[in-house]
């Protein structure tokens, strides 16, 4: 197994992240995000599978009216995230292929992952953003909604943690 480079110092990495966000503000006038990319792709899928259903929902429509949902700004950005993360992991020897049976996480963990994802998808859609777009970018701009979202997020997480302790030994 290749040598594993330890993770970078979190505060310094956070500052780098903040600078990336700042560059985003300066270059595009808006923050970055992630959940919107999922919504965009979902809208693309919806319209491909059943155009009438997609058009019937104002939510999907909003992602379809500014050009193709597959090449939306956020989707391209998230592609970048995949590339950047893959590169960083590969260079640091941290790529852990857990698709291999021996190291695959338990099925309850995988199920919890899917369930968690569904909840986060719903939550992010309602809040119009997630930790990257709303909490981070909105928080930096002192948006009230962003702070409300963040506080609620951590509150729910801390309250629910004891209940799912079994997942995280």
């Amino acid at each position: 197994m290749r040598a594993l480079r330890p993770y970078a110092e979190p505060h310094a990495t956070g500052v780098c992240l903040g600078l990336v966000l700042l560059a985003c503000f300066a270059l595009t006038g808006q923050g970055l995000g992630a959940s919107g990319a999922f919504a965009s792709v979902a809208s693309g899928i919806a319209v491909a599978v059943s155009p009438e259903t997609a058009v019937h929902s104002a939510y999907f429509r909003s992602y379809l009216q500014d050009g193709s949902p597959w090449t939306a700004w956020l989707v391209v950005e998230v592609m970048g995230v995949l590339v950047g993360a893959a590169a960083s992991a590969a260079l640091a020897g941290r790529t852990r292929l857990t698709f291999v049976r021996a190291v695959r996480p338990s099925s309850s963990r995988l199920f919890a992952g899917v369930a968690g994802g569904i909840l986060m998808g719903v939550g992010a859609a309602l809040a119009r953003g997630c930790t990257s777009g709303l909490a981070l970018s909105g928080g930096a701009l002192l948006s009230v909604g962003a702070w409300i979202f963040m506080v609620a997020l951590f509150l729910a997480g801390f309250l629910a943690a004891p209940l799912v302790r079994r997942l995280w030994p």
Binding site: L19, A58, G117, M120, R128, L142, G157, L167, W168
Partner: protein, 179 residues
């Protein structure tokens, strides 16, 4: 095209930074909620502080115009409920939308599982939208900022948020040193 090149570039840098900090590792992220691993708070608070101070001082030195930046709109009820639901999902999966991509990119199948769930969740909202639209649109407050809410000047709010965030980070550092 230019737009999308910038998008890609920002994304690469974003993903790189997240992976460097180890935020593609579900047990690490979940550890925040058991007060075992404070990486999530350290990274989030540092990033937010940096960007907030950067925007303020960038504006002060005329390098950018904070007033022209898009502030996300506030919808009190949906964002409160959305946050609660999101937090529950976060502690279940140990990932968030952005970090689920980081997890996948470093080969973790949990990343794929969470991403699948994310698509499903968003699809659910989209399909149910005609029914939930009134709730979704409830309690709008436009691009409300803390300074407009409290009536305090921008600089004062920046100072207060800085003090609170740095205090939290200092508390975390003290707690970790005591271990």
């Amino acid at each position: 095209m230019n737009d999308l090149l910038i998008a890609g570039g920002i994304g690469v840098a974003f993903g790189w930074a997240l992976e460097c900090a180890g935020l593609g590792d579900p047990p690490k992220l979940a550890g925040q909620f058991y007060l075992r691993d404070f990486t999530v708070l350290k990274v989030m608070l540092s990033a937010m502080l940096t960007a907030m101070l950067g925007v303020f001082w960038g504006g002060r030195f005329g390098m950018l115009d904070p007033g022209a930046l898009y502030v996300p709109e506030t919808y009190l009820l949906p964002q409160l409920v959305g946050g609660l639901v999101f937090g529950l999902g976060f502690v279940l999966s140990g990932l968030c939308p952005g970090t689920s991509c980081v997890a996948l990119a470093s080969g973790r199948v949990e990343g794929a599982a969470t991403m699948l769930g994310l698509f499903a969740g968003v699809l659910l909202v989209g399909l149910a939208f005609p029914v939930i639209a009134p709730f979704y649109r409830a309690t709008p407050h436009g691009p409300l900022t803390l300074q407009r809410l409290t009536g305090l000047p921008y600089g004062v709010v920046v100072a207060l948020v800085t003090v609170i965030a740095v205090s939290m980070l200092a508390w975390i550092a003290k707690r970790e040193a005591a271990r």
